[in-house]
């Protein structure tokens, strides 16, 4: 792999002491959310101001009012139902100064009093409904960003909008993608970095080049865009030659989950999606043959961009010539340090977890999932061993299943235990790879390149698990198995708790140290979205979790597992908020 700017100074060797202990006298800002405030999120433990909780990307709340010692007193404080919640809630609530903000399908946003659930304002984007009805990965929204008095959201029809945090009125909107022509829009959360909003487009199965955008956070003016398919012409990132026969025109890529930011190197880290078609018939000679000969940069990669210019500063392609749709679109970039060395941890859909230095050079790769055979292994330096490249025809027992050994929702890192909690999926697939005519017109929709079906893994039943591991080595401390893979994000807290929203509708609280289940509550429908914790204006700790069913992975559950999934509504989503009674 190529890594640029290897000579850049990292903070390796500099001992940085991170304070994990949280004072009971929580800081309170009650002011504007800014880059500096998000950068110093440790000082605002009562807030959850960005998708991944902070730039550290831990999905960890240091709040400790709710703990393993009093969890039996955790009850519902209030609930809020999202109108027209087709495919449920899949976003991540945010909170600042006691106000909770969350988004839902059809680009709706609510601001609610975090203690009472009282509606402060409601925003609904005007959309081209005809376009939305044609989109496959729609109408869900997976999150928002806060900053400079605005709530930022990407829309299904290709806009970035800024909504006034106080009033819910539209401040500005900028058209970034011609979605009426290209089908794709935005479903992922934006990320505020300095004076820019970073947002990645959908891509993957569509013939477009999956750009990631930088937009002036105050004016809405587009500052830059980076094409994840082939890079930018006229710059050293131009990698169209890695797409033989000009196959970059069939596209894919994109960055449909919010990435991370490392203030130490001033790099935005983003995970990119797969090339199209998903399944290539090239066989082992993928450099020269098949639908898209070559490595297909910068798909299925992690890329480090300059937030000011969008210039590509570093990258690592996790799966060169991804022939299995095991992309790198997972948005988690955990910023960690140990023994004076700094790391980035990023999970890949294929079931491996990559450990990088802060410039994207692999330091280790470990398996979260047992049933993997699309490669025999991935070496610690990131080299793939024993690729299972596919040819036209039938293939039995490819593992994992297309939905991935790791799905897009986030795990959680608890700095008190030093453990990384993450969902893994054990499932496989049979497929028939087909040579398909290159799809160049966007409205032709998907570009898969195979028929397929799900099958159990070689070692037993289809299942999922939540495990607690050393994030750098993968050493497992404990694991809890689930009969169906959980699909929602996880949350760890300063109260020694790990919250696991499961697909059947149970919100479970585990002892973060031992994995022992301490509490559970049935929310009545499956979880496929976010969970976070914050302080209300009454200074009480709340835990907010999203419900609602209909995500791309969960949609297979009704035919696969039967009840309760075959009776879940596909048009309901509720935000359920808990506190101590």
């Amino acid at each position: 792999m190529t890594h640029w700017q290897k000579g850049l100074t990292s903070a390796a060797g500099v001992l940085i002491v991170v304070a994990f202990a949280v004072s009971t006298a929580h800081s309170w800002a009650d002011g504007e959310v800014t880059y500096e405030r998000i950068k110093n999120a440790d000082k605002y433990p009562g807030d959850w101001m960005t998708y991944h909780g902070s730039y550290k990307g831990w999905h960890y709340s240091p709040l400790d009012q709710i703990s393993s010692k009093n969890i039996d007193k955790l009850k519902i404080a209030w609930t809020h139902s999202m109108p027209r919640a087709i495919r449920g809630l899949q976003s991540m609530p945010l909170a600042a100064d006691g106000v909770l903000y969350y988004s839902g399908p059809y680009n709706q946003v609510f601001a609610l009093d975090g203690a009472s659930g009282e509606v402060i304002w409601y925003y609904k984007q005007k959309l081209n409904e005809d376009l939305v009805s044609k989109q496959t990965h729609s109408p869900y929204n997976r999150g928002i960003a806060l900053g400079y008095g605005n709530v930022y959201m990407g829309t299904l029809d290709g806009k970035l909008v800024a909504i006034d945090m106080k009033t819910g009125k539209l401040n500005w909107e900028t058209k970034l993608i011609d979605s009426d022509k290209l089908t794709v829009g935005f479903t992922g959360a934006p990320l505020l970095v300095k004076d820019k909003i970073i947002i990645g487009s959908q891509g993957g199965e569509w013939p477009y080049r999956g750009p990631i955008f930088g937009v002036d956070a105050k004016t809405g003016k587009e500052a830059w865009k980076f094409y994840t398919v082939g890079g930018n012409e006229g710059t050293k990132s131009d990698a169209r030659k890695t797409w033989g026969n000009d196959s970059w025109r069939t596209g894919g890529g994109g960055g449909w989950m919010a990435g991370g930011y490392d203030p130490d190197t001033n790099l935005v880290w983003w995970g990119t999606a797969n090339p199209a078609p998903l399944y290539d018939y090239s066989g082992a000679d993928y450099k020269n043959a098949g639908a898209r000969p070559g490595d297909n940069l910068y798909t299925t990669s992690v890329i480090g961009l300059d937030p000011e210019t969008g210039e590509l500063k570093a990258y690592h392609q996790e799966l060169p010539h991804d022939a299995w749709d095991f992309d790198s679109a997972v948005g988690e970039f955990l910023m960690l340090e140990k023994a004076g060395r700094k790391y980035i941890v990023h999970p890949n859909k294929g079931g491996f977890v990559f450990v990088y230095d802060r410039m994207g050079k692999p330091q280790n790769v470990w398996r979260l999932v047992k049933n993997i055979n699309f490669v025999q292994d991935i070496k610690p330096d990131g080299t793939l061993v024993g690729r299972r490249d596919l040819t036209e025809g039938d293939h039995k027992g490819l593992c994992p299943f297309i939905a991935g050994g790791i799905s897009w929702n986030s795990g959680s890192y608890d700095p008190r235990t030093g453990l990384y909690y993450k969902v893994g999926n054990e499932w496989c697939m049979d497929l028939t790879v087909k040579k398909t005519t290159p799809i160049l017109e966007p409205m032709a929709q998907l570009n898969i390149g195979a028929d397929f079906s799900m099958v159990p893994p070689p070692d037993g039943k289809i299942r999922g698990h939540v495990s607690a591991r050393d994030p750098l080595t993968g050493a497992k401390k404990w694991e809890v198995e689930f009969p169906e893979p959980p699909l929602a994000s996880l949350l760890s807290t300063g109260g020694n708790l790990l919250f696991v929203p499961d697909p059947r509708g149970w919100l479970r609280a585990l002892d973060a140290t031992s994995g022992k289940e301490l509490w559970k509550h049935n929310n009545g429908q499956g979880h496929n979205g976010g969970i976070m914790s914050y302080l209300g204006k009454d200074k009480k700790q709340y835990v907010a979790v999203e419900t609602g069913w209909g995500g791309l992975a969960g949609d297979d559950y009704a035919s696969l597992f039967g009840k309760p999934y075959n009776s879940f509504p596909k048009d309901a989503g509720t935000l359920v908020v808990f506190t101590l009674q």
Binding site: I86, I439, L440, E441, M443, Q445, D556, S559
Partner: protein, 113 residues
């Protein structure tokens, strides 16, 4: 018919030869009437429908099994064209009338494999 996916002369031939020709420029003429040959329904399943209707429509996935469906031709055509919010996108402008008719025929002839 809206030009939504053009079959590129030469590309198809190249695919058969396993040496793809250079992929043609993406069209900037969307909305034009197409004279393209309708795509084979099995190809459409491999690119699009199979995402939800597994094994080429022989098994349920995100969507129902289509082999042996009790739905009428009219119901199938309506669902393909109009979709259903939360369940299936509308493909009424993605596929031509001829292709939709061919998809119905394909579904009617599905056998286990």
């Amino acid at each position: 018919m809206i030009a939504l996916q053009r079959v590129i002369p030469g590309t198809l031939l190249a695919v058969r030869m396993q040496v793809p020709a250079t992929v043609a420029q993406p069209s900037d003429k969307q909305g034009e009437t197409s004279t393209a040959k309708p795509r084979d329904p099995a190809q459409i399943f491999a690119t699009t429908c199979g995402w939800c209707h597994h094994k080429g429509g022989r098994e349920a996935g995100k969507g129902p099994q289509l082999m042996g469906t009790s739905a009428s031709d009219g119901e199938i055509i309506y669902r393909i064209k109009m979709g259903k919010a939360g369940y299936m996108p509308a493909f009424g402008t993605a596929f031509s009338e001829e292709e939709i008719t061919a998809l119905v025929s394909y579904i009617r002839t599905l056998k286990p494999r």
